[in-house]
Symmetry: C2
Subunit: 196 residues, 2 copies
């Protein structure tokens, strides 16, 4: 095995895949495209990702995981008030999505195509996020700050009611003036709905 292939980790392949996607759009990013960009044989990429579908799925998951990992810290801040945690969590989600869409719109559009292709990965990502939210809702119920007969169902309702501020199909609206006020008004109403 040559030194090049020894250091060829899955992470390095996924970084290169993102770069191929960024430069050439969603139609690209086959195993062969990525091997060429890395200057390695496609066999060495296949050792990590056996199909084009597996590679595209993994890079989509990596992109989505970056958001959920950034938010998991807020969900875990047990010491803070549940209302502040819930608001910060949604603000963090909105900011992360807005940054991705605004700073690199072409890559964002590319990932929109990939997420359409990988419904199962997106479903797992949303399950991750609503599990974090459920934890905040449960902490609020335990502290007597929130009422929720079924915290997981309430977490899903909160996620759906804030879709305007994280679902990629609303990305065009995120740069409009007043969108932060809209976010605040929706959060105010939802937090009122959670109070006992």
């Amino acid at each position: 095995m040559s030194p090049t292939t020894e250091t060829l980790t899955a992470e390095r392949i996924l970084e290169a895949t993102e770069e191929v996607l960024r430069r050439h759009g969603p139609a690209k990013a086959t195993v062969v495209d990525v091997a060429r960009a890395l200057g390695v044989s496609h066999g060495s990429v296949y050792r990590h990702f056996r199909t084009k579908a597996a590679l595209r799925e993994a890079v989509t998951k990596r992109w989505l995981d970056r958001t959920s990992q950034a938010l998991s810290g807020i969900a875990a801040e047990e010491g803070r008030g549940p209302e502040a945690r819930l608001r910060d969590w949604f603000q963090g989600l909105f900011d992360a999505k807005r940054r991705k869409a605004g700073h690199d719109p072409e890559l964002f559009a590319t990932y929109s195509v990939l997420t359409d292709e990988n419904g199962e990965v997106v479903g797992e990502h949303i399950d991750d996020l609503t599990a974090q939210l459920t934890r905040i809702v449960e902490a609020g119920v335990a502290a007597g700050a929130f009422t929720a007969a079924d915290p997981a169902a309430t977490a899903r309702a909160l996620f759906h009611a804030t879709g305007r501020f994280h679902d990629p199909c609303h990305a065009r609206e995120w740069e409009r003036p007043g969108v932060q006020d809209e976010f605040d008004a929706v959060l105010d109403l939802l937090l009122r709905g959670l109070r006992p």
Copy 2:
């Protein structure tokens, strides 16, 4: 003036325009296409709609107005409880959108292109709808059933928080099992947030 052109009302032209759109997609529906479909001279269509843009704008407005007119009856039912009126209004909006998307998906896709072109008409439509909602919120405040410092702002927040159930970008989700439960959970939470 021949009998044909005498009966050529704006409404007849818009009906024909919708039929042209249904058959040929959003790229069609110029004044000339519509005149041909009606078997009249394009001059007689121009008497009602001076440009292609004006014709496309008018047919978009007609499509959107059908929804707001259907809902205005619910908004005006002063005798009923505000919670029931609010829930029925949003259910009516969701059902109308779901019906349009499900029964004639090609025409729905065509109108999605037209609404993208006609941002101002869509803005007026949303103003119409939130004005109806404001009326329901104000009635709720007057009856002591709702709290809202600024009923118009609350109406906009309610509209934004329910986007999953009326914004065309979510149309793919409207046929999924469980979507009615999702709608109910969001409405429950929002109605709780409105209570004094």
